[in-house]
Subunit: 290 residues, 2 copies
């Protein structure tokens, strides 16, 4: 990380504040600057000491930064890119922590000047608890981080960001934004949609009898609606295709159930059971699950 003197983070929610806090702890020679558009958040960020400095003005907060990280909702990225385009210093690396990557790459190409290098990042970390007061310096430890690049993305900037997220404790995969969005449409956005549909299809009186099965299957539906509507909008095509696939599988099961074809029901259940067993075994082998 030589030559890096300042990293600035826009947005002091759980993720953003955990980034600056982890920089404080693991890269003490680097200045970690934070910005939030909310005065109350900036006050708390100062009070909790999550960054070297909290700056009141967004343009000023990035002016001297070698890396700028957007940790605000995805829907704000294009406006922030536009607003800050003239404020980044030459050679600055701009990234974000958004859960979808195709649109951020498009917006960066459209609004960022040529001498600023955009690379996408998606650290797979978070918590039900949001807000600067929950910032942790171990949030990224052992987490995956996807770094996304297109054919014209600056190779040196990719290397710097790989190094940066590794130092924070992440294991890195590099891929295209399109591949990222296909994968996370499947493993993250689609489960959110199925959990939401399951809950919305339920009678509130009936689900009082819910056991651990329903509670687990629906857990992600408790995520913040504004964050998730942003994500589903930003990955609309992949999510929509995923919904088609889930409906097709539901209809296969329903057809077997309606026709009393127990062999076919058993076959579909066993297919899912085996597939999930393979997944869990892989995760255990990767030490991602115990």
């Amino acid at each position: 990380m030589k030559n890096l003197q300042q990293i600035s983070v826009i947005g002091m929610g759980l993720l953003g504040a955990s980034v600056t806090l982890t920089i404080l702890r693991s890269m003490p020679s680097i200045k970690a600057v934070g910005y939030s558009h909310r005065e109350s958040t900036r006050r708390k960020a100062r009070q909790f000491g999550v960054a070297t400095e909290i700056i009141d003005d967004m343009a000023l907060s990035v002016a001297d930064a070698d890396i700028v990280i957007l940790a605000t909702p995805i829907s704000t990225f294009s406006a922030i890119f536009k607003e800050l385009a003239a404020s980044f210093k030459q050679g600055c690396i701009v990234t974000d922590v958004g859960s979808t990557k195709t649109l951020p790459h498009q917006w960066a190409a459209k609004y960022l000047p040529k001498n600023v290098h955009y690379v996408g990042s998606h650290p797979i970390a978070g918590s039900e608890k949001n807000g600067v007061e929950y910032a942790r310096d171990d949030l990224f430890f052992g987490a995956k981080c996807i770094v996304t690049k297109k054919a014209n993305t600056d190779p040196e900037s990719i290397a710097v960001l790989q190094n940066f997220w590794s130092t924070l404790g992440c294991s890195i995969s590099v891929m295209s934004p399109a591949k990222h969005d296909r994968i996370f449409g499947q493993v993250s956005h689609l489960p959110h949609v199925t959990a939401t549909a399951l809950v919305n299809a339920s009678d509130p009186e009936q689900i009082k009898f819910a056991g651990k099965g329903f509670v687990d299957t629906s857990r992600v539906a408790s995520g913040p609606a504004n964050v998730w509507s942003d994500i589903l909008m930003a990955n609309a095509a992949n999510t929509s295709k995923g919904i088609d696939r889930v409906i097709k599988e539901l209809q296969k099961l329903q057809k077997a159930i309606n026709s009393g074809n127990q062999k076919q029901i058993g076959k579909l259940l066993e297919q899912a059971r085996t597939k999930r067993e393979d997944l869990i075994n892989y995760k255990i082998k990767q030490k991602e699950l115990m």
Copy 2:
């Protein structure tokens, strides 16, 4: 539980063996008899000492019982009722631990003699670990148990079974088998179907990137396929109607996503979030969740 001298359990899996083991511990004056059609299971049941006595012959095992509990797959119930019809003693109470209740009531009405009283039971307990060797005397502690009755079910037998399951540690709800199956179609069988569909709709390479969200949302799909195909067959109509409702909700979300209607996406997500929050708050109040 006065007057009860013997309780016999058919099937020495996790549930059946945990019933006899818990009787041994909490009702020491009652003889707990176990039967399994597998010689190897009977041997293990004796070795682990899960019952007062393990009997090799199914008809003999129930001959002196005041209560007989079927703890075998639902698909075996009608054949067992038929086979044992002449072996139950007069006034015997017959129940089961099956996850659906409408068909067991129908089979009991068809095959059991008039002087034998059938009541349905569904203790909501279990574990990923199945088999007599995992029997526990605390499996039912704090669990819900649904006791099902029809208009002509013997009131005294219902009272005896309520008392029995309470002594094992369960909290009891009494309802009709039809209501039971509607509720558990919603809270248990439908989540199993959606988890199965989600996994089957997934690319095995993509889901290697799965985080906690996908893992939780799909957890129940790891249940044993033979047990669950039995359950889905036995509650086909409710499950199929539930699938219709989930598909309808998926299509609502998909329509909002495809048309870029972020307000509507947010509304549907918020509806699910609030509904699940109410559920979790209810469960915490009931001390079912911490």
